[in-house]
């Protein structure tokens, strides 16, 4: 079993005590193990409180869905023409968040940006769980949820296939592929760490980690195979991640609905996805850093980098957003233009303006170093940016559906019912539950990669290629590693 909390406390106390230099490296690596495995320990009571709250929230969602299942979609206050409402909006939002995790991990892995290493694991886990959450919404929005498998291309004796022309089928396929590969990527990247867990665990956990680590011994051959596989998967995931949200955007861009029928939607969606994904990575970064005291791993320079990346993504999104408005405006298509004016002035105007503010204006605060350096402000920023991005998805769905080509069926009065809100809230409960369980079962920071990073830094340091100042990792560790001087 991993160390008890008290033991760890002592270890933390002793952290800054100078050690003999020769075997330092090994000691520090062992400490990495200890620090991170500590997060898998028996949780504090507050964990259970939050977990039960999340579970309760999830139950709210489940009961709403059961009610909707029994009674019909009418209880959600969906109608003709507002047929999708919050379900599809929240679906895009969740699936968008899932983008940054894997994309960040895979892209930065290929680019050898080593600051990704302490944060990629939980990001990937986040990706997986957001995808699972998003998939729920695909089901929930169906009128006949019990027949969702019709959308899947499965062989059957009647030769009935889904309609491959339909973007929804592309969607289902893309999400399925992305979910599978993300899960695989997460799992494969975790194997060496699972082996560490295995070596430190007892009881049922030992069995679990033994099974999951697939007999990892850390031999050269295993490492070589592992590296090739991991890199291959990273290369595979890169375009996939871009494609998923592009395909999600074709649900809209390929339709005739004014306000959806926009060529720039794929990059716009991808930008929005990365933007909100980065924001949620920041949120989780802060939460994990605080909860598990990962200050030495999730350092301020990493947060700084994330903040800059978020700002960049935010600006790309803003640009594409403005492009959308501008092309609609000078495209002078009557339907699209009216829909745009309606969004800015109709019953959804407050939400629309708030979305533009949160998405495009608020991130400018990130240009200030003091903002980037302040953890509470960053938490606030990340949550509000994400809220803005959720509003963006809602503003794509509802006002547009309410104000289509056909004026007779315009609809100003429909507001989501408690069933929709309940299911949206339930999705947060579901995500929280999954993520909390994950954090207590699997290491949320990659141990072997942090070690790798440390090793490389030491190497580069000794050859004066990089300086300690540039290091994203806590210089304390480097000092402890004995290479600071």
């Amino acid at each position: 079993m991993v160390n008890t909390y008290e033991e760890t406390e002592v270890a933390v106390e002793k952290r800054f005590v100078p050690k003999p230099l020769d075997i330092n490296a090994d000691i520090a690596w062992a400490k990495i193990n200890k620090d991170i495995l500590r997060s898998l320990e028996r949780p504090r009571p507050i964990f259970w409180v939050i977990f039960i709250a999340s579970f309760a929230l999830f139950l709210v969602g489940v009961s709403c869905e059961v009610y909707q299942y029994q009674t019909g979609m009418g209880v959600a206050n969906l109608n003709n023409p507002q047929v999708w409402g919050l379900y599809i909006a929240t679906f895009i939002w969740w699936i968008g968040m899932g983008h940054s995790g894997t994309l960040l991990s895979a892209l930065l892995h290929i680019m050898h940006a080593d600051w990704r290493k302490p944060i990629y694991r939980y990001s990937e886990a986040m990706t997986t769980f957001t995808l699972l959450t998003a998939a729920l919404f695909v089901m929930v929005h169906l009128g006949r949820i019990w027949q969702f498998y019709y959308v899947v291309a499965y062989p059957n004796e009647r030769w009935t296939w889904p309609n491959f022309q339909s973007p929804l089928v592309w969607d289902a396929t893309a999400i399925g592929t992305y979910l599978t590969s993300s899960l695989l990527f997460l799992y494969i990247g975790m194997i060496p760490d699972l082996a560490i867990c295995r070596d430190n665990a007892i009881g049922i956990r030992k069995k679990l980690y033994t099974f999951m680590s697939l007999g990892w011994m850390g031999t050269d051959r295993q490492w070589a195979n592992f590296r090739v596989t991991y890199l291959t998967l990273a290369c595979f995931l890169m375009p996939l991640a871009v494609s998923v949200h592009s395909i999600v955007s074709t649900d809209f861009a390929a339709s005739q609905q004014p306000g959806y029928h926009i060529t720039s939607f794929p990059p716009y969606f991808v930008a929005g996805a990365i933007y909100s994904g980065l924001a949620v990575i920041i949120t989780l970064f802060i939460v994990l850093r605080y909860t598990f005291r990962f200050e030495e791993y999730m350092t301020m320079p990493i947060l700084e980098k994330l903040a800059k990346l978020t700002f960049a993504a935010g600006m790309v999104w803003t640009y594409l957003n403005l492009i959308e408005y501008a092309t609609t405006w000078y495209g002078n298509d009557m339907y699209a233009k009216q829909a745009l004016i309606y969004r800015a002035t109709g019953p959804f105007a407050p939400e629309w303006w708030m979305m533009n503010f949160l998405g495009s204006v608020l991130p400018f605060a990130l240009t200030f170093k003091r903002v980037r350096a302040s953890i509470p402000v960053m938490l606030f920023m990340s949550i509000f940016i994400n809220f803005g991005m959720w509003l963006e998805r809602w503003m794509i769905i509802s006002p547009t559906l309410a104000h289509g080509i056909y004026p007779w069926t315009w609809d100003d009065d429909q507001w989501p019912s408690f069933v929709q809100w309940g299911i949206v809230a339930g999705s947060f409960g579901w995500f929280n539950m999954l993520f909390m369980l994950y954090c207590k079962i699997f290491p949320s920071v990659s141990m072997y990669e942090v070690k790798e990073m440390l090793h490389e830094r030491r190497f580069f340091k000794s050859t004066n290629v990089a300086t300690a100042r540039d290091s994203a990792i806590n210089p304390d560790l480097a000092v402890e590693g004995g290479l600071a001087s």
Binding site: G72, V83, N163, P167, W408
Partner: protein, 282 residues
Amino acid sequence: MSITNLLNNWSFYRKKRPYQGQYDLNRQYSEYKWAMALDLDICTGCNACTTACYAENNLPVVGKERFKHGHVMHWIRIERYWDEKMGEFPEQGASFLPMMCQQCEEAPCETVCPVGATSHTNDGLNSQNYHRCVGSRYCSVNCPYKVRYFNFWNYPSTAWPAPLPDQLNPDVTVRTKGIMEKCTFCVQRLNEAKSRARTEYRLVRDGEVVPACVQACPTSAITFGNIVDPKSKVAMMWKNQQVDLYKDMQEKDNSVRGYRILEDLRPFPSVMYLERVRDMEA
């Protein structure tokens, strides 16, 4: 559609899109292509067609509360528009527009249905397969006319208190919650007429079968028929009104009244409307 079939006939499937001059009506439809012509000048907006549709197609009466929430199921609805340049009073009356599924040749709903529940039949109808429908409502999103109606509630259990179910038309199913439905051009009547004709070794005669709305219309504002048959009234009307099924921009004289709604979106609807006429000197 097996994959072998798809591969063997790739060039056919690839070319199937009806772009201008690409193919003609008679090559696409050898026997039937149902179409309509609707004269807005003599439509009085009386709603007899709507009620006929309720009676024929087992449309549920949803009630006030559900109507308020936009859950009404009228497959054909009468829209009433005031003139945009209206002054204090609507001096030229109102514009009534009966709007039902336009049975588009290039139906936007068909391409987006994930399960292929809505597809084209070989007599040119845009069919809706209730059994296959999973209720994604994508077709409704993509329908420019918004004439697809979703079963937001389980109407069979609420809309027909006994003994009202005795009135239900046994030729038409009663739709459960969670599926999309729409005007079918009364396909149950068409199929009956077709099979009757087939047993008599002939094609369906013009006027032999009409949808319920056409049958009820007190002013006979709607004409229905098989547009493949050049002698049918509807085919002659389309020709006379210079409306071509496969054109998105009709080249017609100013005095000719035929037009199709939202033609510029290229859905190639099968319903031709005839313009409302107003005596401007009156």
